[in-house]
């Protein structure tokens, strides 16, 4: 029996992992917000899925949910906002951000597990750390590398996205806290 395996996942864990992978995909259907005309790629709601997976499911299941999502994108399903998918997107300019998603969810989940009684503000800080700082720390060097841009220039481009990310942090914090209250033993 697998239940004796140290890393075994119960049926419910597998279902939750699939649910949050699917949630991240579904959020890609929300119409993206164009904030700079055609000058920059639009903000999508998808990284909200990353934040929620970490904050609701915790480190291991949250990280696996996003790993599953990235795998589904890699095999060619058009699950990224704008109907994109396949290896191309994952090694493109935003590849670093996308490939970091499992790690971001893991880190948010880890911080939440370390501090189960976190206040709303602290929860928000954890979500922001994993969902903005870690994501940018992986995504910006990648962008700089692949575009031979240099870190500071890449950073400048990404500053435009921070307000949208902060909105997502607030949403994720409120929803995650609500869900945790409704389902204490999620």
């Amino acid at each position: 029996m697998d239940t004796t395996a140290p890393r075994g996942l119960a049926t419910k864990d597998i279902v939750y992992i699939a649910l949050f992978a699917a949630l991240t995909a579904a959020l890609g259907l929300m119409p993206p917000i164009h904030f700079a005309g055609a000058a920059l790629p639009p903000i999508s709601a998808q990284s909200l899925g990353v934040m929620l997976a970490g904050a609701v499911l915790g480190s291991k299941r949250g990280g696996l949910a996003l790993l599953l999502f990235i795998a589904l994108v890699a095999v060619g399903l058009p699950l990224l906002s704008g109907g994109r998918g396949g290896f191309g997107v994952l090694i493109g300019t935003s590849g670093g951000f996308l490939l970091a998603w499992p790690l971001c969810a893991y880190i948010i989940g880890y911080l939440m597990e370390k501090d189960t009684a976190a206040s709303p503000v602290k929860t928000g800080l954890y979500v922001a750390f994993g969902g903005i700082i870690v994501m940018y720390a992986a995504g910006i060097p990648w962008m700089a590398f692949i575009g031979k841009l240099g870190l500071s220039k890449s950073l400048t481009i990404m500053v435009a996205y921070i307000p949208g990310d902060l909105v997502k942090v607030v949403l994720a914090t409120i929803i995650a806290r609500g869900l945790r209250r409704a389902y204490p033993n999620l």
């Binding site: 395996a5 699939a18 579904a26 060619g76 191309g88 031979k148 409704a182």
Partner: protein, 198 residues
């Protein structure tokens, strides 16, 4: 299944997914290592020639890079300004070549075949605690949930329209999230009651 696959019978379609993926990764690595613009131009042309060979149109090739046009222009302008025309052309062309190459695999391989290859490959990860059966269950469930959650997302958007935008995002999203978790709990019970051994 909804995927980006473009049906055909070319040699690239018939090639099994695993060698195709390996060849793609090898090609991508070479593109990264190479620093010369002429080589990158040749590589891009070679990849473009592969499109008609794979029974794909150049229009399809263009569709692969179109979502990135904005960022291409941005990179090109920044590079041109700081480092000159040659580097700007090299960076953008290399990026386009990478994406065209990777898309070639995506367009000529069914997602279901790719998933099969992937789950078969997971056997080798068993020693570090990966259970291929659980992974394939998770994949199937995710594919099953996506249309359901997409429907819920559409309902959220309609409700937002009715109620007036942002103000009610939480008021709508919260019950939806609870509904989704409830569904997951029920499905989990259904899986267990249908003899699944977790």
């Amino acid at each position: 299944m909804l995927d980006l696959y473009s049906p055909g019978s070319s040699i690239l379609h018939r090639l099994p997914p695993a060698p195709k993926m390996l060849a793609m990764m090898f090609g991508a690595t070479l593109l990264f290592i190479n620093q010369s613009l002429p080589v990158t131009i040749v590589a891009t042309l070679v990849i473009l020639v592969l499109y008609p060979i794979a029974q794909l149109t150049l229009k399809q090739a263009f569709a692969q890079v179109r979502p990135l046009l904005i960022i291409f222009v941005l990179f090109f302008v920044v590079q041109w300004y700081f480092s000159g025309l040659e580097l700007a052309a090299y960076v953008v062309l290399r990026l386009a070549a990478l994406i065209l190459l990777a898309s070639l695999v995506t367009l000529t391989t069914r997602s279901s075949d790719m998933i099969d290859t992937m789950t078969r490959g997971l056997r080798y990860l068993k020693p570090i605690g990966v259970n291929p059966e659980k992974v394939s269950l998770a994949i199937s469930l995710a594919l099953r949930f996506i249309p359901v959650l997409a429907q819920i997302t559409r309902e959220v958007r309609e409700a937002q329209k009715v109620r007036g935008l942002e103000r009610s995002v939480i008021a709508v999203a919260m019950p939806m999230a609870i509904r989704a978790i409830k569904m997951a709990d029920d499905i989990s019970d259904a899986i267990d009651s249908r003899g699944y051994r977790s």
